[in-house]
């Protein structure tokens, strides 16, 4: 149905300025992968150093 047409997001890095579509897609993919790599580096930096102990000690009382 018409409503299901996939909508393009209007983010700045998807502006319709120049460049062939195929290379833009590759660039976009490379950019996303690079971003994800940076993010994983950051997660490695800030993640609880002893994940097992932290997860074990995370106990809450039920609420509401």
């Amino acid at each position: 149905m018409a409503e299901r047409v996939h909508k393009q997001k209007q983010t700045s890095d998807r502006s319709d300025e120049v460049g062939a579509e195929a290379s833009a897609t590759t660039e976009q993919g490379d950019k996303l992968r690079a971003e994800l790599d940076d993010l994983l580096d950051e997660i490695d930096d800030v993640l609880e150093s002893n994940a097992e102990d932290f997860v074990k000690s995370y106990i809450q009382k039920g609420g509401e």
Partner: protein
């Protein structure tokens, strides 16, 4: 004709003291007191009119009338009109009443900032080496859950049974865009091997279709009938089925789509054909299937996926907007929600990555999968559960949700203003502004009244039974020109 969808959110935060005695009630008190004592004179909540045991289906539980909130614990009202208190063993903030979903998003964000300010103020009060951790999540992964509740103003004249029947399909399926994601499974009879990752934090904890409980046998539709306003005209639909969201887009969608569907129900626009055969198993089945392919049985005998049901609701909502308008939810906010609703369903149906900046579970799943690939981590590894927890971590610099590129919908200025100042378009304005201007003359406040000490006997209670009166347009000039609380009360004719 649908009535204005005044709304708000109450969030219970997870709390833990590391490196010290971890008593969650004491820790919550330290957190909230640190904030309240730093602000103006503390004004306590007034329990006079609270009746959490009254059931919307028309009867009362005497036992439930015992105060549900321990009234000796800190329980304050803030100048932004919110309530900040210890509920059970969690710090909780209830936003002020908001006139639309976007405004409620601002106040949910302001509440997060209030929690962060509280953490900074509480830090020096802790023993050496102790650290206070606060998480905006709904589960500890060990079978304990705490809530993020929404409230919506609905017309008393809409039959409650029809409301329950017609909102249930939305409550069961909206999780596909407002689920916060969870590593593992806490539903009895399921293992983490079967369900390594699921869409919702909360779905595992729902055991009934409809009921009064919130802590045991949680129902998909909660029947607490405590309108905090004129009970002849209104209900407050108390929604306990949602997850706490880190994504602004998810909070906006959660509140916005629900406001629209409730308006449609009031106007007879939803119908009964989307009724599920078994809503309780369905809410879990949908949560347990991040592929979104699973179908659930409808009362009609057909099978539909959560996406199919949401497309149906959106189609009806678009027709509703065309034929009736969206004044009950705010025309502009309503249009924004409709376009976001379509965007999120399209993304979920197609390229999932395009909505990772809107949908918490998609953002969380993406980093968990990438982390597992990079470090060759198997399902069930505690590091994946730690990433899940840390996605919701409120410590600046530590919360992973602040690093994944979630889209923003409200300005930093609005969020900052919402810490101190109430919405101008609901009765929260009167509550918040009185408190900001005359804190020493207010004895107590709650949702639907305030008690003033006018300097002469007796104390004066001012009722506020209309959520959309007491706005800046109504009382702004009166407040500005009143020289004292006594003057204000005289001029109100209270």
């Amino acid at each position: 004709m649908a009535i204005p969808k005044v709304c708000g959110i109450e969030t219970e935060y997870g709390i833990l003291v590391r490196g010290g005695e971890s008593n969650p009630v004491a820790a919550s008190s330290v957190l909230i007191n640190a904030y309240v004592n730093d602000r103006s004179r503390r004004v306590d909540w007034d329990f006079e009119d609270e009746t959490p045991g009254v059931d919307a289906r028309g009867f009362s539980y005497a036992d439930a009338l015992a105060p549900e909130v321990e009234s000796h614990l800190v329980n304050a009202v803030l100048t932004n009109g919110a309530r900040y208190y210890v509920d059970h063993a969690h710090p909780e903030i209830s936003t002020p009443e908001c006139s639309d979903a976007l405004q409620a998003l601002v106040y949910d964000r302001s509440a997060e900032e209030i929690v962060r300010l509280s953490m900074a103020l509480a830090a020096p009060l802790l023993p050496d080496g102790a650290e206070l951790l606060v998480h905006k999540n709904n589960s500890d992964g060990k079978g304990n859950s705490y809530g993020c509740h929404e409230n919506f103003l609905v017309a008393r004249e809409t039959p409650f049974g029809r409301l329950v029947a017609e909102i249930t399909p939305h409550f069961v399926t909206r999780q596909i865009f407002c689920g916060a994601g969870k590593v593992g499974c806490e539903a009895p009879g399921f293992s983490t091997t079967e369900v390594p990752f699921q869409i919702s934090q909360r779905a595992d904890f729902f055991e009934e279709e409809v009921g009064l409980e919130t802590t045991l046998k949680r129902p998909i539709v909660n029947t607490r009938d405590e309108p905090h306003c004129d009970p002849q005209k209104y209900r407050r639909l108390h929604v306990i089925v949602g997850d706490a969201n880190m994504s602004e887009g998810a909070t906006l969608l959660k509140l916005g789509t629900t406001s629209i569907v409730l308006s449609m129900i009031e106007d007879g626009f939803v119908g009964s054909d989307l009724a599920l055969a078994h809503p309780v198993p369905a809410i879990r089945q949908i949560s347990h299937d991040p592929t979104l392919r699973r179908t659930v049985l409808m009362q009609s005998g057909a099978r539909m996926s959560a996406l199919d049901i949401q497309w149906q609701l959106l189609e009806r909502a678009n027709r509703y907007a065309e034929e009736r308008g969206l004044s009950s939810v705010g025309e502009d906010v309503g249009r924004l929600v409709l376009s976001l609703w379509e965007e999120v369903l399209s993304g979920l149906a197609g390229d999932r990555a395009t909505v990772a900046d809107l949908v918490d579970w998609v953002a969380k799943e993406r980093i968990i999968d990438a982390y597992a690939r990079r470090h060759s981590v198997p399902d069930g590894d505690p590091r994946l559960r730690a990433i899940d927890l840390q996605y919701h971590d409120m410590r600046p610099g530590k919360g992973l949700s602040t690093k994944v590129g979630l889209r923003t919908f409200v300005s930093a200025e609005d969020v900052s203003r919402g810490i101190e100042r109430a919405p101008e378009t609901t009765r929260a304005y009167f509550r918040g502004e009185c408190l900001r201007r005359w804190p020493d003359d207010i004895v107590a406040a709650n949702w639907d009244s305030m008690v003033f000490d006018v300097g002469r006997d007796p104390l004066r209670r001012v009722p506020m039974m209309e959520p959309l009166r007491g706005t800046k347009a109504h009382v702004g000039e009166l407040l500005d020109s009143s020289t004292s609380i006594g003057d204000l009360v005289d001029r109100l004719g209270a």
